[in-house]
């Protein structure tokens, strides 16, 4: 078993919610849920691999494919929707050339939609990695995303 995986299992074993917490740590460490890693986890935790695959494909925080360097979360919560969030999403999607859920060819950006990160007073909101931007427009996003490009 990989050392990293061992550490992750150790960290969460014996506490409630072991399985989901382990998967979250794997997602954080590897950027996605690789099959070989999950096979090790299944063995270590004594749960069927199919159950882990079921978890991996059920929850939107998990991905089976590697994510981009930066993840753009366009919020489509009610307040953001009512203040034009869908237009901003369309603009960003056209700007970087991918649909929500996909990653750009140069692996720089993954575009996701999220429903409500709780900053409704600043609607429409876009989050890039952990940075939250409020009162966004397509124009503003262009400048913001340029800052993340290498």
């Amino acid at each position: 078993m990989d050392e990293k995986v061992e550490k992750i299992i150790e960290q969460h074993q014996g506490k409630p919610g072991t399985v989901i917490s382990v998967l979250e740590s794997v997602q954080e460490n590897y950027g996605y849920l690789p099959q070989q890693i999950l096979e090790q986890v299944a063995q270590a935790l004594g749960v069927p691999l199919a159950q882990l695959f079921s978890m991996a494909t059920f929850y939107s925080a998990f991905s089976l494919k590697p994510r981009g360097k930066h993840t753009i979360y366009a919020c489509l919560g009610t307040a953001c929707h009512v203040r034009g969030g869908a237009r901003v999403l369309k603009g960003v999607s056209q700007q970087i050339g991918v649909k929500p859920g996909d990653t750009t060819d140069d692996r720089q950006f993954t575009l996701e939609t999220v429903r409500c990160i709780g900053c409704c007073s600043l609607a429409p909101v876009v989050k890039v990695n952990e940075d939250v931007y409020g009162y966004t427009t397509t124009d503003k996003m262009r400048g913001i995303l340029d800052n993340y490009k290498e």
């Binding site: 506490k15 989901i20 929850y59 009610t78 929707h81 009512v82 203040r83 056209q94 429903r115 990160i117």
Partner: protein, 1052 residues
């Protein structure tokens, strides 16, 4: 150091007090997620940097959120003995000055938001006291956003450091826990919670004490409690704030609950989208453990308990309790059938109590203050307070905590400050995707579990999204359904497929493919899913459909029957927001672009396709299009009315416009149509019907055509020669006019039918003044407003004297006032509400002010006093503002005060009504206020072949709306007579560039030069001038061309 006994707690309290009230100036930055998103983290770093740079003896600290998110970033400045001062809208650039001033014991005054002298936090007998002073700063509870709030759960948010347990203890924290463990048995605590009447704050409203009791009484070797912090409702973020700003309150509440229930393990299930909340909770748990509040033998008792955090992984359905349990157990969040309920058999099959964050947070104060204190707040059925996230199209956005039972209108208008940019609020959505949209007419409703259910919604977790006239209710329903459908776990077919199907129908409706049978289908399916779905997500997912069908069915019908989206959201149904809002659907982007290309003739023609009176409208239209203009969100709407006026004025100035005026005309149909009334509605109907090839006769009671345009609006707003030019265009098409013909007296409906008219369009308007109804109205010198304007327009001379009072607030009142000044009088307008409530156009009110008209607001006429049969003055009752009505305006209420204004003449302009005697003769059914009842979609009256439109149907309204009726009538009757819709054939193909620049062009709005005159006595010349050529061309570049839609590869 473990805290085991009360004296230990006192020691920690001392530490906390020193931190909360240090002996030097402290500056605390509001670092909740909203604040950070607004830049608060940068402010914090900048302040720390400045303190170091300036070597100031100031501490920089963190605090949570005060709730008024729209004002973030917020910064608190405390000095020993002085009130806490809150600064708002702080950026990192302010840091230097803040520190400089603070070092000198001063405050950055122009960024002051409010002060806090004392906060009642219920646990401390004297509350949290800062100090008194700063008389000129408002106290925070004087700010409308805070005045009606009752902060119990949020009492310390934004005042203490959420990462410092001692500060929590300093304001009374953990004393309730000690009291419960040391002084009470678990049963006693349970009784307290039951007596308090606390109900679950997650949305279900289940009595908390009852749930705890079930778990307590179920025998098992292990019991759990869970905090449901998977706050997934879009627009709701109360729990996020509760965890970020006061995590210890949640922890203390959970420990108390575990004690009462007999649980040994607690889990906080937090959604992964809340990283800061997770961090603050982890930090707080560590601190609580260090003090011995978690672990073994808590407070020297046998009670052992600890709390773990489990993070969600992006599934809204995990907010449902059985799905949440499944998630913790290591499975996807698929709900399980209930019974068995979790309180009996939950996590790992053991009794489990799941409560929402806010429910747990209420515990410490209930224990400390006692259940009666808690039960005193709220209503009989719903005790305590509730935190709501007030977001959307409302001025004051943020978190509000109010007692249960407060009305929606108090929350939205008093706390929320009403709509944005003067827009009318249409509805409020409560309960997230499980809830419903409550229309503004029901805003008197009290906010409690049962009332909200009665009106078709639910309390939910507390999200409150305000919607205005720019929100399309079909679109909102589609939005919620796409959310629930995406989040559906898929286990049961009614939710998995039922929602998919309903969403498909809604997509059809918003794309113009809807049919009326779809509405029945939606309702039937909604009711099946309500009952048949396995869990709360599926069962409540149809609620937005059911409430919008209940309260906003007309919007659905408009999408289906008229293929129209009145809010201007459903893209497929309109060209651009301006065009959509225009009652005549003018192709605004088209003619603006043609102006930009300097193709004046083509621009004029394009205008004429949609509007037969463009020069008139270019002067008097109330331009609702500009209210929807997207450029308005940047730096002011495009001057659409001014542009149209410029184009038409230009074209008319050219000598012979005969070649330009040749709109398409169809071959003769042989059908005869009669129009009664040559006002804007009648003229427009005549114009289109003639172009469609019909024989049109317009009967007009007065000597000339134009209606209110001719006999109402004064010359200086609408020169009559311009009006006549445009009437002549219609005449030259071959429309017959019969003037001085009054229907009923000179000609009847039967006569017309006998003459072979296929249909009659009644557009007689509302030309009768509504009398004031006060004593003295019959005195010499009292004039009815519309009659006054009519007589002036007909050339009658008036002596109104030196002082004139005009009563009313609409455009008629303003016109009367401005005419009176030109007759040499000093004019005062008396209006019973406030300036902002006047229905008149803002620019007209402004013109009147420039011309020297004075205004008296909040005054109602009581009686007109006379001397020798002539007007000598008017008695006025002073009004004051009373309660908000459901439209968000305060009702004027009479006071005892009465005063008299001296004057020689009184002009009454309080409204108009139709001449019902004529209408009654025709036999058409009237509504209660004397207008003609018509079918909304066919314009048919109760008399066969008799239709109606314009003010006679709507009551006094606008020129363009009346014209819209005329245009609509022509379309409808032509389709009926000819059996096919030929209307679009009237358009000619005009092409123009579809290139759009990405950046907004043109700079700020161009405004026409205004006259510098101040005395208009005897001067009836047109006041407002047109834009210059340069101005007009520049203004045209400001258009964002919303009609150009980007290439769509796939639906997002």
């Amino acid at each position: 150091m473990k805290i085991r006994i009360f004296s230990d707690l006192e020691k920690a309290k001392g530490k906390g007090m020193k931190s909360l009230f240090p002996e030097r100036t402290k500056i605390a930055v509001g670092l909740g997620s909203c604040g950070i998103a607004a830049g608060a983290e940068r402010v914090y770093q900048a302040l720390k940097g400045e303190v170091e740079k300036q070597g100031a003896d100031i501490s920089v600290a963190k605090t949570g959120c005060l709730g008024f998110c729209g004002e973030e970033p917020l910064v608190n400045v405390t000095r020993p003995g002085a009130p806490l001062v809150v600064l708002h809208g702080i950026t990192e650039d302010d840091a230097r000055e803040i520190i400089e001033r603070a070092a000198g014991g001063n405050i950055l005054e122009d960024k002051v938001f409010c002060k806090v002298e004392r906060v009642d936090n219920f646990l401390e007998p004297k509350g949290i006291r800062f100090g008194t002073g700063y008389a000129n700063f408002p106290h925070y509870d004087e700010i409308p956003f805070y005045t009606k709030q009752h902060k119990v759960v949020l009492r310390e948010s934004g005042l203490i450091d959420p990462e410092n347990i001692d500060e929590y203890i300093a304001v009374g924290g953990y004393s309730a826990l000690m009291k419960a463990l040391v002084d009470s048995s678990p049963e006693r605590v349970l009784t307290i919670v039951k007596t308090a009447g606390l109900r679950g704050r997650g949305g279900g409203g289940f009595p908390t004490g009852v749930k705890w009791e079930i778990a307590r009484n179920t025998p098992a070797d292990k019991k759990y409690i869970i905090c449901n912090a998977d706050e997934g409702d879009p627009g709701a973020y109360m729990n996020r704030n509760e965890m970020e700003s006061d995590p210890h309150m949640l922890i203390e509440g959970m420990i108390i609950g575990a004690y009462a229930i007999g649980a040994c393990e607690g889990i906080i299930y937090v959604r992964t989208e809340y990283p800061l909340a997770i961090k603050r909770l982890e930090n707080a748990l560590e601190q609580a453990r260090a003090y011995g509040f978690l672990g073994d033998n808590i407070c020297n008792t046998q009670f052992n308990f600890d709390i773990y955090i489990v993070c969600g992984a992006g599934a809204f359905v995990c907010g449902e309790e059985t799905a949440l349990i499944a998630s913790i157990e290591g499975f996807p969040g698929r709900p399980r059938p209930r019974p068995p309920f979790p309180a009996v058999s939950g996590l790992y099959g053991k009794p489990t109590v799941i409560n929402n964050v806010e429910t747990w947070c209420n515990l410490p104060v209930i224990i400390s203050k006692g259940p009666e204190w808690f039960a005193d707040i709220g209503t009989e059925e719903c005790k305590g307070t509730k935190v709501f996230s007030l977001v959307g199209k409302v001025k004051n956005v943020g978190l509000v905590e109010v007692p249960m039972g407060i009305s929606l209108k108090e929350i939205i208008y008093e706390i929320g400050g009403g709509g944005l940019k003067g827009k009318e609020i249409k509805a409020v959505q409560t309960g997230g995707p499980s809830g419903g949209c409550i229309p503004a007419t029901l805003f008197d409703s009290r906010v409690d579990y049962d009332t909200l259910k009665q009106v078709g919604s639910i309390m939910g977790s507390g999200g409150m999204v305000v919607m205005d006239e720019d929100t399309c209710m079909v679109d909102i329903t589609k939005y919620f359904l796409s959310f629930t459908q995406e989040e559906s776990c898929g286990k049961c077919i009614p939710c998995r497929r039922g929602l998919e199907h309903m969403l498909g129908i809604l997509e059809d409706i918003s794309a113009g493919r809807g049919e009326m049978r779809h509405l029945e289908e939606l309702e039937e399916l909604a009711k099946v899913i309500n009952v048949a779905a396995l869990c709360g997500l599926g069962q409540t997912a149809p609620n937005p459909v059911l409430t919008t069908l209940r309260y906003f069915k007309d919007e659905y019908e408009e999408h289906i029957i008229q293929k129209r989206c009145r809010a201007g959201v459903c893209d497929a149904l309109f060209l651009a927001p301006c065009e959509n809002r225009c009652p005549l659907n003018m192709n605004v982007p088209g003619f603006v672009q043609l102006l930009k290309e300097e193709r004046f003739a083509d621009a004029y023609h394009l205008i004429l396709e949609d509007n037969p009176l463009p020069a008139v409208c270019g002067r008097v239209c109330h331009h609702p299009c500009e209210g929807k203009c997207r450029r308005g969100e940047v730096d002011g709407p495009v001057g659409i009315r001014d542009i149209r006026r410029f184009i038409t004025d230009c074209v008319y100035q050219a000598d012979d416009t005969r070649e330009l005026r040749s709109p398409v005309v169809f071959p003769e149909t042989g059908k005869k149509l009669a129009i009664i009334g040559a006002g804007p509605a009648g003229l427009t109907a005549a114009y289109y019907l003639r172009r469609l090839g019909h024989e049109v006769t317009v009967f007009e009671a007065y000597p000339k055509a134009g209606g209110m345009l001719q006999y109402g609006i004064p010359e200086f707003r609408l020169p009559k020669d311009i009006l006549q030019k445009e009437i002549n265009v219609i005449k030259d098409l071959g429309v017959h006019f019969e003037f001085n013909k009054r229907v009923g007296d000179d000609i009847t409906l039967e006569d017309m039918r006998a003459d072979g008219f296929a249909a009659v369009f009644v557009a007689t308007g509302t030309h009768q003044d509504i009398p004031l109804g006060v004593p003295g109205e019959d005195l010499d010198g009292v004039y009815a407003g519309m009659k006054f304007l009519r007589d002036v327009n007909m050339g009658k001379a008036f002596q109104v004297g030196k002082e004139v009072v005009v009563i009313g607030g609409g455009n008629v009142a303003i016109d009367c006032a401005r005419v009176a000044t030109r007759l040499g009088a000093m004019v005062t307008i008396l209006y019973r509400r406030e300036r902002k409530d006047m229905p008149a156009l803002e620019e007209e009110i402004h013109e009147a002010e420039l011309e020297g008209v004075s205004f008296i607001f909040l005054g109602a006429p009581r009686a007109i006093v006379g001397a020798k049969g002539k007007v000598a003055g008017i008695e006025v009752t002073r009004m004051k503002l009373g309660e908000f009505d459901s439209s968000g305006r305060r009702r004027p209420v009479p006071t005892e005060e009465i005063y008299t204004i001296q004057c020689n003449a009184v002009i009454t302009a309080i409204g108009g009504k139709a001449d019902t005697s004529v209408l009654e003769q025709m036999g058409v059914t009237l509504s209660r206020n004397g207008t003609v009842q018509v079918d909304k979609y066919t314009l048919q009256t109760s008399v066969p072949l008799c239709y109606a439109g314009g003010d006679v149907v709507t009551g006094p309204w606008t020129v363009s709306d009346a014209m819209g009726y005329g245009k609509n009538f022509a379309k409808i009757i032509d389709a009926q007579l000819m059996g096919v819709d030929r209307f679009d054939g009237l358009k000619r193909d005009v092409t123009y560039s579809m290139d759009v620049s990405i950046e907004p062009q043109g700079g700020k709005r161009n405004v026409a030069q205004c006259s510098s005159l101040t005395d208009y006595t005897g001067n009836f010349k047109e006041v407002v001038q047109s834009l210059s050529r340069e101005q007009a061309l520049r203004e045209a570049t400001r258009c964002l061309r919303c009609d150009v839609k980007p290439e769509e590869e796939e639906e997002i």
